[in-house]
């Protein structure tokens, strides 16, 4: 390993993986999107004081047979999901034998894997175990079950990634930020290969209540098509879902040298904060969001006419979808009306920290298939959200060279990735 650092390296995506309530891997999840399946359902007794009735839960047991119990003993569910997603991404990039060491010094390979609320579920359970006299005990692993960096840690341990490790925590923008930060690390020459993404699992009553009480979750109790209907007049909040998504990023020259299949290139990334006091409300001045998209495009060297598809944040909350529409009009001007824009959360629900990763994968799948996934459940378009949100029908045979993936988060976190077809 040499110490010299060169700047402005190109960064490509050579693998990806995901797990959600729509499927146990990215292929099944994408097929579910093609088939317009809804990945969430009614749960009528989520817990005391919780209004929401619709959630995206993975109801099948997780297949963790590939991982050592020595790793799993420290691993809460959100990080288990992260291991599964990372495993698919690494297998896709390096084959079934996952022979990273044949191509890279371990110290040149790292991980940036984020989460919004990490092991909040475990913390709630362990606190009960600790404080309730009738409960046996909290787990001796409570510390690691609550540690936000545990997913980054176990991914690093499992694949012996001895390079850069970090754990962004930026609510619903986390996954995009993880990928963007990993892109910057490779671009700067500090690593040659990075696993990046995010994971989330909030399913305990107390942790669900902590989000529900904010009024952020869907109010729909009867019709699944109205539970998550981004940009529709009927929207009432987001669907809390669990899952994980990861991408494998490599320095272009190294990827080419080992004849890796390249699924796309990251050419721009930016992150600017709202700095707005109401942590759940998009800033009305639009500055953070607008600057984030403008700067990502500027760094990518592309203009508004170059963008062929936007994967919107599109949470299905009244405030986000309206604010997001205003932001896109501010950035793209009249061109905003022409660009196909969709929210794939209409299929997955809101995967929180995993959203940025899985939506990056959807952009790559779209580029690969010249196809733009529809915003499903968009039956009653909101006149205030009057852009081309691709209602209900996928667009095929599209020219798709540049896509942007946008994710925003509580606390004013904003992120935008610019993805390019590799040729």
């Amino acid at each position: 390993m040499t110490a010299s650092i060169q700047h402005s390296r190109r960064v490509v995506i050579t693998g990806y993986g995901a797990i959600s309530s729509l499927g146990e891997n990215s292929t099944d999840i994408w097929q579910a999107v093609l088939d317009k399946k809804i990945g969430y359902d009614f749960y009528h007794n989520p817990g005391k004081g919780i209004s929401a009735r619709v959630f995206g839960r993975i109801n099948t047991p997780l297949d963790l047979s590939k991982f050592s119990k020595k790793i799993l003993k420290n691993t809460p569910r959100f990080a288990e999901l992260g291991l599964i997603a990372a495993d698919e991404a690494i297998t896709m990039a390096f084959g079934e034998e996952q022979g990273l060491s044949s191509h890279y010094d371990q110290r040149e390979c790292g991980v940036i894997f984020g989460t919004g609320w990490a092991g909040f579920d475990c913390s709630a359970v362990n606190y009960y175990g600790y404080s309730d006299p009738d409960a046996l005990s909290a787990s001796a692993h409570s510390c690691f079950h609550s540690m936000p960096s545990i997913a980054s840690s176990v991914i690093s341990v499992n694949w012996k990634l001895k390079g850069y490790q970090n754990t962004p925590i930026a609510a619903c923008a986390t996954g995009n930020i993880a990928i963007g930060d990993a892109y910057e690390i490779i671009k700067s020459g500090k690593a040659k290969m990075m696993i990046a993404g995010g994971s989330e699992s909030l399913m305990q009553p107390f942790t669900i209540w902590s989000v529900d009480v904010l009024g952020a979750l869907t109010k729909e109790t009867n019709d699944l098509r109205k539970a998550c209907c981004p940009f529709s007049k009927d929207r009432s909040g987001f669907v809390l879902s669990e899952g994980a998504a990861a991408v494998c990023l490599e320095n272009l020259e190294d990827a080419l040298a080992r004849n890796a299949t390249i699924y796309g290139e990251i050419v721009g990334y930016a992150n600017h904060s709202d700095a707005y006091v109401n942590l759940t409300t998009p800033a009305p001045d639009l500055v953070g969001r607008v600057t984030t998209i403008q700067k990502a495009m500027e760094y990518a060297g592309v203009g508004v006419d170059d963008i062929d598809y936007i994967n919107a944040h599109g949470t299905s909350t009244p405030m986000n979808d309206y604010n997001e529409t205003l932001v896109l009009k501010e950035v793209f001007g009249t061109r905003a009306y022409d660009i196909p824009i969709s929210s794939t959360k209409s299929y997955t629900g809101h995967l929180i920290a995993a959203a940025g990763g899985i939506e990056t994968i959807f952009c790559l799948k779209g580029i690969e298939n010249n196809m733009i996934p529809a915003t499903i459940n968009l039956d009653t378009p909101d006149p205030a959200c009057d852009l081309n949100y691709v209602p209900n029908d996928h667009l095929f045979e599209q020219k798709l060279n540049y896509a942007i993936n946008i994710n925003y988060g509580f606390g004013g976190a904003n992120s935008c990735l610019v993805l390019k077809r590799f040729d």
Binding site: K69, K70, L136, S137, A140, H141
Partner: protein, 86 residues
């Protein structure tokens, strides 16, 4: 109550099975702790669960000074402190 050696073995084997990749069906009195690949955190787990489930207090400092090399010696040690449990 005092627990039989068999009960203590069953308790420890269940933890080893949960925390390590060692096949507990092949575990013998002569199996070395090194083979089991137990790390310091695993002994914390054993201490916490022994206290909660069996009422047995394990002093980890004393345990580390007891020069225990094998599973059988670990069971001998647990038997000696298996007094005054619940």
């Amino acid at each position: 109550m005092n627990y039989s050696r068999l009960e203590l073995e069953s308790f420890i084997k269940a933890i080893i099975n949960r925390l390590t990749d060692f096949d507990v069906d092949t575990l013998t009195e002569q199996t070395s702790l090194e083979e089991l690949d137990l790390v310091s955190l695993d002994f914390v787990t054993i201490k916490v669960e022994a206290k909660n489930e069996l009422g047995i207090d394990i002093d980890l400092n004393a345990l580390s000074q007891a020069e225990i090399d094998t599973f059988g010696q670990l069971m001998d040690y647990l038997e000696t402190i298996n007094i005054g449990g619940k």
